[in-house]
Point group: C2
Chain length 334, copies 2
């Protein structure tokens, strides 16, 4: 008999909360018998959503949380003052060991603060990085760190490289993942002070497959499996990728529907184009893990639908089964 994985799902704070959150949880438990989900949110709302669906009742439990942290809340204040919010209640459950992971579509800043303040870092971990998995032209890349703790030190980046490497190998299933550091040139002597100081430390690491500097130009081509960078730069890369992709798609739509003839053409290319662009999607890998905490915290997109929710729940299961935190601990002791 395999062991049960318990996940806390924050059903609130997303664009499609709680409907898509609940649907994602239901689909997940239907697919995996050894998964148990605590859905945290206002009891009546969650009940209302669950009533619409059929599912194995013994695998889902509602945890009542009357309050909600919204995108308008200031992270630190919200975590401190909104004790009855689904996020704070959920994170506390993780902290108390009631679950193996926590998944939320809510306020990114609050998830980051809450993860560190409530769940807490593993002993020996200097910083807990947020590491979204981004699509590339031929696969996916882990961009680590995109969080809120900026101005990192070289030793922080070395830990990111190692944790990211373990994650991509055992959760995403990429053997011996290539680790690169974001730089403004391919040569070793290039870079800012942080990169210049970090580079030799990464080169010395025997337990990662360090391939050197990668330029941002090559990032979308999948130049590395784990892309290490300080959080300010990572955050800029993440948001620029999102902004550019959506802006370009909008331009293309405009061009395609500008005339009757092009609109006809658009109808003919639509199916194939959607198919190809679907490969440019990383939601099958779940959400962005916040690594180095006493339990897995996963931030999914604010506009996440049930598919991403389901995959994030599976992500927690893989994380547990592969004993990622155990592997991180081993590395810290080595």
């Amino acid at each position: 008999m395999s062991e049960v994985t318990r996940v806390v799902l924050d059903a609130m704070g997303g664009d499609h909360s709680p409907g898509e959150m609940v649907l994602g949880a239901v689909n997940a438990v239907k697919e995996k018998r050894e998964l148990f989900v605590y859905i945290v949110g206002p009891e009546d709302k969650i009940k209302g959503e669950l009533a619409k669906l059929e599912y194995p009742k013994e695998q889902i439990e509602i945890v009542h949380a009357p309050d909600e942290i919204t995108c308008h809340d200031t992270p630190v204040n919200a975590i401190r003052s909104k004790k009855e919010s689904s996020m704070v209640i959920g994170l506390k459950m993780l902290k108390e060991g009631k679950a193996d992971g926590f998944v939320s579509p809510g306020n990114s800043g609050a998830v980051l603060v809450g993860g560190q303040v409530i769940v807490g870092k593993m002993k020996g971990i200097e910083r807990a990085p947020l590491a979204p998995i981004l699509p590339t032209m031929n696969g996916v890349t882990l961009l680590i760190d995109c969080g809120a703790n900026v101005d990192a030190k070289p030793s922080n980046l070395v830990q990111f490289a190692k944790m990211g490497s373990i994650y991509m190998e055992y959760v995403a299933g990429i053997p011996n993942p290539r680790v690169g550091i974001v730089n403004i040139g391919a040569e070793e002597e290039k870079g800012n002070t942080l990169v210049k100081e970090t580079f030799p430390l990464l080169k010395e690491c025997k337990d990662i497959n360090f391939i050197g500097s990668i330029e941002a130009r090559d990032f979308p081509n999948g130049a590395a499996d784990v892309v290490v960078t300080e959080a300010f730069v990572g955050n800029v890369m993440l948001k620029l990728t999102e902004g550019l992709a959506s802006g370009l798609m909008q331009k293309i739509k405009e061009g395609m529907t500008a005339t009757p003839i092009s609109t006809l053409g658009a109808a003919l290319v639509k199916t194939q184009l959607k198919k190809t662009l679907k490969t440019f999607d990383a939601t099958e890998y779940g959400g962005a893990p916040l690594l180095g905490l006493n339990g897995l915290v996963v931030k999914i997109h604010g506009n996440a639908t049930n598919k991403e929710v389901k995959n994030a729940l599976f992500q927690v299961e893989t994380f547990k089964k592969q004993d990622i935190n155990g592997k991180i601990k081993e590395y810290l002791l080595s």
Copy 2:
């Protein structure tokens, strides 16, 4: 009679050197009588290209340079040792006051080093930023600094904001340009140490239209006309934009030509799509100026064709006519 603008054109170091460089120069002088271009490069090659074209002979002069700096050269070494290269000879002409500006498609690092070492910074300018003009969904944005001098100080960024503002107002023709600083959140208290220290200084500047922080997500939407950032981040933004745009276009092409039906559709949307995407092009603004030097140095793309060359030559003319360096001097004294 209007005054003549003299521009040094480095004909070498580009993907289409010297053919497209020479063609761009010829097209420029044909269009503007008050423009004079020194074309620097191997005399026989330049002569060969010029022989194919008709043009007003009194507006073009060949300056012989037997050597060339390539993309494989290390910038500092190349500038020091390749004294007979078109880049070094051209930059020296600018330094000696023989011209108002210098345009090159060559090795970016060498242009940056050569600009600072040979041409030199204006008195009072702490750093000379490289400031490419990038296309946005509804116009263009100056991204300042994308150069090689990383780890900037707050006072550097304040100068960038001011110089960028002058440039966009008087060269690109955008009245009272909006100046934003790249940040990882819209709030004033967000950011790394550099941004937090720079923010209040920019807020105090009475002679710029500072609109606060902008997130990288909003950069492609044209959230500001002048986007100020430290060179490492700017370089990453520039290169990520290039890499993502070309990667996405490739994906779209793949999808469009995947089946016979989609290929037919692609033929029908092609014209309009090209038209729309052409608006996503900033080459009509010339190249990226390296600001704050004793004369204008312009870096054009390595793959620049004659249109970009011509516009970069016109860019030098506007720069001179608008007395941009005079305006920067005034600001330094204020």
